[in-house]
């Protein structure tokens, strides 16, 4: 590096030669500070989203850099929220990037004392098998009064209020087609 340049960038020299003799402002700024840019500006893209917590439905802007979410903040365009977020909404980035978030399928065999690994594909297949086994075992053509019911009461589901409409739609559709009726969510809790 140019020694002269280095010398001239020495804040003491800048103090003596510039407008900031006391070394409290312009002279003291570091080269890194001078280049600082917000990660909202350096993001590869911004995606419009909706807060996943409560049902107010605040708008969120999701900033993505190198295929990672780097920032989530309120969307000022939203007529619902006008860019504001509560503490939970403000924690959304931590929600999605939390190191504690589970990454792989976990499996506990009957009477097991700890989790085990299981490949995703196999786990899904096992679940499908369980559903069909239970359904076959518990299928009812008619109820105890003889009325037609075409159903299974062998398995149930709870959840959906945090999910997308499209997801709930597939859940309801698939379960109903299987004859499962005990499908519930937070709306009743």
């Amino acid at each position: 590096m140019d020694a002269r340049k280095t010398f001239l960038s020495w804040p003491v020299v800048r103090q003596l030669t510039g407008e900031d003799p006391l070394g409290r402002g312009a002279a003291a700024r570091s080269a890194r500070t001078a280049e600082i840019r917000p990660r909202t500006a350096t993001a590869d893209r911004v995606v419009q989203s909706v807060c996943p917590y409560c049902a107010v439905g605040c708008g969120q802007k999701v900033f993505v850099k190198d295929e990672k979410v780097v920032q989530i903040e309120g969307d000022p365009d939203s007529p619902v929220s006008r860019g504001r977020l509560c503490p939970k909404g403000s924690a959304s980035e931590q929600l999605v990037n939390s190191p504690g978030r589970v990454r792989t399928v976990r499996y506990r065999r009957p009477f097991g004392t700890d989790w085990e690994d299981l490949p995703l594909e196999k786990a899904v297949d096992m679940v499908a098998e369980r559903m069909l086994d239970t359904r076959a075992r518990t299928w009812q053509d008619v109820d105890h009064r003889g009325h037609r019911v075409n159903r299974t009461l062998g398995f149930a589901s709870l959840g959906g209020a945090t999910l997308d409409n499209e997801e709930n739609y597939l859940i309801k559709k698939l379960f109903t087609a299987l004859g499962a009726v005990q499908i519930e969510n937070q709306a009743r809790i």
Binding site: S49, V50, C54, A55, V56, G57, V62, V64, D77, S78, P79, V80, P87, K88, A91, Q94, V102, R103, T104, R108, R109, P110, T113, L118, A123, D125, A128, E129, R130, M131, R145, R148, N150, F155, A156, S157, L158, G159, G160, A161, T162, D164, N165, E166, E167, N168, Y169, L170, I171, K172, K173, L174, A177, A180, V181, Q182, I183, N185, Q186, I189
Partner: protein, 873 residues
């Protein structure tokens, strides 16, 4: 609202800055109270008395909006002669069947013009109604429409003088809800109560409107539906429905909890609030349709056939034909209560093999956590899909019942699959927020590892099941084999959420427009030419455009902001907005103009999409005998109601009465000061050893549980904690489970600030750190001081990786449900509180058992529903 919906609360603060008066009615002084003009502390569980007092004030002081009330509500409608009010039956209405603990609602019906029948024989009547004997699935089945009526041909007296007009019935019903009674029941001083009455009525009328806002704690009562009915009556009387700045706003706590009711993951509903068919009743498609709506009634529910056929076409495509009743028989039938609590009880009885938990943590978030966990330990298999390793996935190793020795890990046979879920940034789709608005969220990044969306997971499960059953010849496998399940997938295997939304929106399946998207539910046909996955969402993909993804900035459009997202139905931001104009179609006032009739254009215009047939003039009167939408007059704004009117009195559809009555909570240290009938006589109870109830006032042993407790959320956490206790930034803000008590209560029980307290009910005992605070105040109820304990319910014992943990408040509750909707009473119950930490291990069980035996609790305790002597004054 400031506590749980801070960003929504910005609008309240803005209104306040413009001069609005903000009144906060809550047992505790919360962050909402801190900035309100008035805080009204009332006893948890006494809201109906408070609301009833306001109704009486409105009626007595003639503060109702007479023109609105006469024209738009059923005030003028005559009730049949058979109806007997709770005033005359010790707190019960006519038609109570003691054995079934339910009402035959036929005596509640309107008087028919043709006098042919007085039978609003639709729901509840003659159906088995106890939780134990099934038949409890009706109340919630009416969704946006309300229940049917046999006919809209009703008798009216627009002078409101006839003694059997709804108006006069209402007057008599509310006669005893005096300010003195409000004071005695709620613990609210007369002066403060009257201040509220005056503020509410002064800010209602032509020029002004008042809005009521509740958070869903109102639904967490054994009389929850009637709480909301109570405020609906006030709002109708004051002319605040369907008008800007008015209405009743339900603040809901999950991103798409509205959506999960619209497109229901609920046992008793099909998409768009169509009821699930019932065993023994809906044997045929025709019979099913008849139970949804009377073809003689007014309103849009008469088109339910088109909605249902289109749904069946969406699900079974070409296999749904006119010949096979559009595959109606592919639908399973329900019989009685299959709600989540009944299911959990069935689990405990070994009747359920498998369970899916999808972003839900019932081990912490549902009432009676112990029953939830013991139930899950009885399953063969359990699938948990969540972001974090929640308690419901780890109950087999760290549940409180492991600590007490009731369960042993090695003896629990439940096979548990935990699937990590994709977050909202990792999938596209719509949330429906609390005002029925769908908002599309775009996928930002691909989920990592095994994380998947529910969309992909269930699509995959469906594909696997269809493959496994492809060769089956069993009748029961037809619905699966014939199911439409061909969604386009991307390169990662994720099905297209847009394709699903298009199916929900609906399309023409035959005719010249075949394949084109529907522009709204008015285009739905009952002849199989349209398919639509959820009729109320029809229009969300109008013109082939994802309307829910519209994001025209709010500042670039009107204050109604119609071009942001899409609200059902038909992008209407405010329901029943025809009522914002007078019967002649003119705005009630310029200040409160919203939609109005434009004579020149001969149509309804305004700031919002009119919730009315756009070309129907105010002067329109239906032909005699008209039905459905055509039967709605030009001044019938409540277009989904069977008579086009707002219901001050519900002649059918509610299982616990046509009007609200103050009943004490299922567990209450207070004897009902208003009626002999103590609790809701139709509440759903479960007499089981694993669901014991505390004795209430009037029963032996009630003094053992002398305090009232309530539960709630804190701003810093989210429900059962699955999305907050795992985050350092939220956990550090509220790191420990605590109870809030008044200084007086602390003194009475020797509780020390920052010390520990143990809270006990018949179910269990939990421990919490003590916050002594002036924000909790003892109330005098019926001459007796009532102390209330506040418990936020976000904590659980463990799970994997939670940053903070603690006992779960919901473990304290037993199960008593509102009969209409099967929602548990979890905002109020009785308890004892003592200083110090709770015992651990088996000693905890002994500790609770000692309480039970002191109070003499049996399975009958607290479960006697009928306590009034019928016919006594």
């Amino acid at each position: 609202m400031a506590e749980c919906h801070p960003v929504g609360f910005q609008w309240v603060m803005e209104a306040k800055a413009r001069g609005a008066k903000v009144i906060h009615i809550d047992p505790r002084f919360t962050r909402t109270s801190a900035v309100a003009d008035t805080h009204v502390p009332l006893r948890a569980g006494s809201d109906i008395a408070f609301l009833g007092g306001i109704v009486k004030y409105i009626l007595d002081n003639e503060k109702y909006f007479r023109e609105y009330v006469v024209a738009y509500t059923n005030a003028a409608t005559l009730v049949g002669e058979d109806f007997v009010d709770s005033e005359d039956l010790g707190g019960l209405f006519s038609g109570y069947d003691e054995e079934k603990a339910s009402y035959d609602q036929s005596s509640w019906a309107y008087e028919r013009a043709d006098e042919a029948a007085a039978a609003g024989d639709r729901e509840g009547s003659g159906k088995g109604n106890g939780a134990q004997d099934g038949g409890h699935a009706e109340g919630h089945a009416f969704g946006s429409g309300g229940p049917g009526l046999d006919s809209h041909e009703v008798q009216r007296d627009e002078t409101l003088q006839h003694p059997r007009t709804v108006f006069q019935v209402l007057k008599r019903h509310y006669a005893r809800y005096t300010p003195e009674m409000v004071e005695e029941v709620c613990g609210v001083s007369r002066a403060q109560f009257l201040e509220v009455c005056e503020a509410v009525t002064a800010n209602s009328g032509r020029e002004r409107t008042t809005c009521w806002v509740y958070s869903v704690g109102w639904t967490h009562h054994s009389v929850g539906v009637q709480y909301i009915r109570g405020s609906a009556i006030i709002q109708l009387l004051l002319g605040n429905m369907g008008r800007p700045g008015g209405g009743i706003l339900a603040l809901r706590g999950h991103a798409s909890i509205q959506g999960s009711t619209d497109i229901p993951t609920l046992f008793n509903l099909l998409p768009g609030y169509l009821p699930m068919p019932k065993a023994g009743e809906d044997e045929s498609f025709g019979a099913y349709l008849d139970t949804i709506r009377s073809t003689e009634q007014k309103g849009f529910w008469t088109n339910a056939d088109a909605y249902t056929v289109s749904l069946l076409k969406a699900w079974w495509g070409e296999h749904a034909t006119a010949e096979n009743g559009y595959a109606f028989d592919y639908l399973p039938r329900i019989s009685g209560d299959h709600s989540t609590y009944q299911t959990v009880l069935d689990m405990n009885d070994g009747k359920i093999e498998g369970y899916f938990l999808l972003g839900q943590n019932p081990a912490v978030g549902s009432a009676h956590g112990r029953l939830q966990r013991l139930g899950m330990a009885q399953l063969k298999w359990l699938v948990v899909r969540d972001l974090n390793m929640i308690e419901s996935a780890t109950f087999w190793k760290d549940g409180p019942e492991i600590a007490t020795g009731e369960m042993k890990t090695e003896e629990i046979g439940t096979e548990v699959f935990f699937f990590p879920a994709a977050a909202h940034t990792e999938k596209s789709g719509t949330f429906t927020q609390t005002q029925r608005m769908l908002q599309w969220h775009h996928k930002a990044v691909e989920p990592e590892g095994d994380r998947r969306s529910e969309l992909e997971f269930f699509h995959l499960v469906g594909q696997k099941i269809r493959a496994k059953l492809a060769d089956s010849t069993l009748e029961r496998d037809r619905p699966i084999q014939h199911l439409t399940w061909d969604y386009p997938v991307d390169e990662h295997g994720e099905p297209s959420a847009e394709a699903v939304l298009q199916e929900v929106n609906g399309r023409y399946v035959s005719g010249e427009k075949a394949g084109r998207p529907l522009s709204g539910f008015a285009e739905l046909k009952a002849d199989g030419s349209t398919a639509c996955g959820c009729w109320i969402y029809s229009g969300v993909y109008a013109d082939g455009v994802n309307q829910s993804a519209r994001r025209k900035p709010g500042r670039e459009q009107s204050w109604v902001a119609p071009d942001w997202g899409w609200a059902w139905p038909m992008n209407r931001r405010q329901l029943y907005n025809r009522a914002s104009a007078d019967p002649d179609g003119k705005p009630w006032s310029e200040r409160k103009a919203y939609v109005w009739w434009d004579e020149d254009q001969a149509k309804w215009v305004g700031h919002d999409v009119p919730d009315f047939q756009v070309g129907k003039a105010p002067s329109y009167r239906p032909e005699p005998g008209a039905t459905g939408p055509d039967a709605l007059a030009g001044d019938d704004p409540f277009i989904m109601q069977a008579d086009g009117k707002g219901w001050l009195y519900a002649p059918s559809g509610l299982l616990d009465g046509p009007m609200p009555v103050h009943y004490e909570p299922a567990e209450s240290p207070v004897r009902n000061p208003m009626y002999e009938q103590q609790g809701n006589p139709t509440r759903e109870v479960f007499k089981r050893k694993d669901n014991l109830q505390n004795p209430s006032a009037g029963e032996a042993g009630s003094e053992v549980f002398p305090y009232v407790f309530t539960t709630y959320r804190l701003t810093e956490h989210h429900t059962a904690g699955g999305m907050s206790r795992w985050l350092p930034y939220l956990s550090e803000l509220q790191p420990e489970f605590f109870c809030e008590v008044s200084p007086e209560h602390a003194r009475e029980r020797g509780l020390e600030h920052l010390g520990w307290a143990t809270i006990v009910t018949a179910r269990t005992a939990i421990e919490a750190r003590v916050l002594v605070t002036d924000r909790v105040v003892p109330l005098t109820v019926g001459g007796k001081v009532i102390h209330q304990v506040g418990l936020p319910y976000h904590w659980g014992v463990g799970g994997g990786g939670a940053i903070v943990s603690g006992d779960s408040a919901n473990d304290l509750f037993g199960l008593s449900l509102d009969a209409n909707v099967h929602i548990q009473e979890s905002k109020v119950a009785s308890c004892d509180i003592v200083p110090g930490r709770r015992p651990t291990g088996p000693e905890l069980l002994q500790f609770v058992e000692a309480y039970r035996s002191r109070a003499g609790i049996t399975v009958e305790t607290g479960n006697t529903r009928h306590t009034a002597q019928e016919g006594s004054p």
